[in-house]
Symmetry: C2
């Protein structure tokens, strides 16, 4: 069973082989996931309970409440405000604005550009969970704050992060996960993250190709690398849809291949979440499987594999 | 108190006076509603309970569960499908498509073009509630099916229907209401109707003017006749936001001036609701207060005031 990886001790990814072809002329289809969801842990003590680990394996996500205190979240919010107003970050190309407005949709590479989020990235409350589930030392593949502004925040269409990271960044196998921290309350009505439980166990091969410099438009509104309607219907009929309604300071851990998306936000309540993507150090990116040039370093850590978080360190 | 109208027996609207100016150069602001919400009933027996009537008066809406049976809803859905595929309706100009696609967003004037929805418009389960709350004989000011398609349905931004009906159609006073029938399940995640409870007790004067033939674009995505951010914030801080999550066959009654909107729908679950707007026969439209030409008959009944629903009839 894919989700129970305890017997797969000898997993060694073939990193240069395209094990998950997509956008290569194939018809849209669902194929089986080739990789475990959870890996044999190196750390001695599980940082979360067995029920949570099982839910992560079968559903593809877990929500951990009250991980950060109100004071910590206040600091994160203040830091986000500072980043949004920082001219050097505004002009760095590391900010994505909403389609049709100048409002900030995403700020990338916050684990390097922000001293506050740099600390968060290596915080044991996150890193220990990541390294435990992935059974390896981990590093930050990508970090960002998605700030869905009130009144005008637009949707993020359904996608598997891994499909993009594989095709556009060259992430070889599924041995990565995202941890999202709720910086504001995520209500039902302000465009919360929606998951398709169980969808991580299949891989939705996408049609179409990858335009050059796709990231310049895809991060505003994704048009390539999205599952077909039929694939999506099949996954949702099987797994349904779960909206992640959460309080500030709660944490959502989800598999790199879990299908997710979110609706627009016409309410005045901004919906901001900080994302840290942890990847196994044995799953570093190679050349993009699209054959195109790699995306910029602020979207995908390629040269700066930093910080490497040791399981030995986080398990103490 | 405005919402308790039982003492206001002598209400006679001055129909040619612009009692609710908007988009006329004034600054955006909230002003008091001049009209009652509920009117002294002519019908003898209340068709809904006192608690529901009180909620309607104070909150501006009520939800009535299980009004139509599964069989009836099945007929409505089949009729909607027939209308969507009817070439004569497709070419009539009475259909609005989604911004950026050919998918149907709204079909207007269904109380005349469809034998099925014609019956629904005069169904006593709806009409008796409308005439009771408005204390008068009523007619259909507008009818439509809003079909928010799955995967690609876009948002309806916050607005008061009355503001548009007043400025663009010449509806003199607030003595109208909408009844919405859920034709599909309205989940939290497929762009359900969202209300700002209590917002109907104030009138949000809007800035800007009204472009000629505004309806050609406004029914796809509204840009004029929307409350300012400040007005919206104030109303939402006071009343919060309620999402109308409802089963097929349930009915939502809401005041003509209640601020409402809905988010987009990236889920595969279409969200279709049929709307019937009942107006008091003593509140028929006059010339639009914008000074522009009236909108077409299929958006606003001006010449064909039909059917007139008598309270005497519906109260039996």
């Amino acid at each position: 069973m894919l989700s129970d990886s305890s017997e797969q001790l000898d997993f060694t990814p073939e990193i240069d082989m395209d094990c998950y072809p997509s956008r290569n002329g194939q018809k849209a289809q669902l194929v089986d996931r080739l990789d475990p969801v959870t890996y044999p842990p190196k750390a001695q003590l599980p940082p979360i309970g067995q029920a949570a680990i099982k839910q992560y394996a079968t559903q593809g996500f877990i929500v951990l409440e009250d991980v950060f205190t109100a004071e910590e979240v206040g600091n994160f919010q203040a830091e986000l405000l500072r980043l949004e107003e920082d001219e050097s970050i505004r002009s760095s190309g590391e900010i994505i604005t909403e389609p049709g407005s100048d409002e900030i949709r995403s700020i990338f590479r916050v684990h390097e550009s922000s001293p506050v989020f740099k600390q968060v990235a290596v915080d044991q409350r996150l890193a220990s969970v990541a390294s435990y589930l992935l059974g390896d030392d981990v590093y930050i593949h990508q970090s960002r704050v998605n700030s869905k502004p009130g009144l005008s925040g637009k949707e993020f269409y359904w996608h598997s992060d891994f499909e993009t990271w594989h095709v556009e960044d060259g992430m070889p196998r599924m041995r990565a996960l995202s941890i999202s921290i709720s910086l504001t309350e995520n209500f039902h009505h302000n465009g919360p993250l929606m998951f398709v439980p169980g969808s991580h166990l299949q891989y939705a091969v996408c049609e179409g190709s990858t335009p050059k410099n796709h990231f310049l438009s895809s991060l505003k509104a994704q048009e390539y690398g999205i599952p077909s309607n039929d694939c999506l219907q099949t996954l949702i009929e099987k797994g349904d849809i779960v909206s992640i309604v959460s309080k500030p300071g709660s944490v959502t851990v989800f598999d790199c291949n879990l299908i997710h998306g979110s609706n627009s936000n016409i309410t005045p309540h901004a919906r901001s979440n900080a994302f840290f993507v942890y990847n196994s150090v044995n799953n570093k990116v190679v050349s993009p499987f699209s054959g195109l040039l790699p995306r910029p370093e602020h979207i995908c850590s390629r040269n700066k594999i930093n910080p490497i978080i040791s399981t030995a360190k986080v398990s103490t």
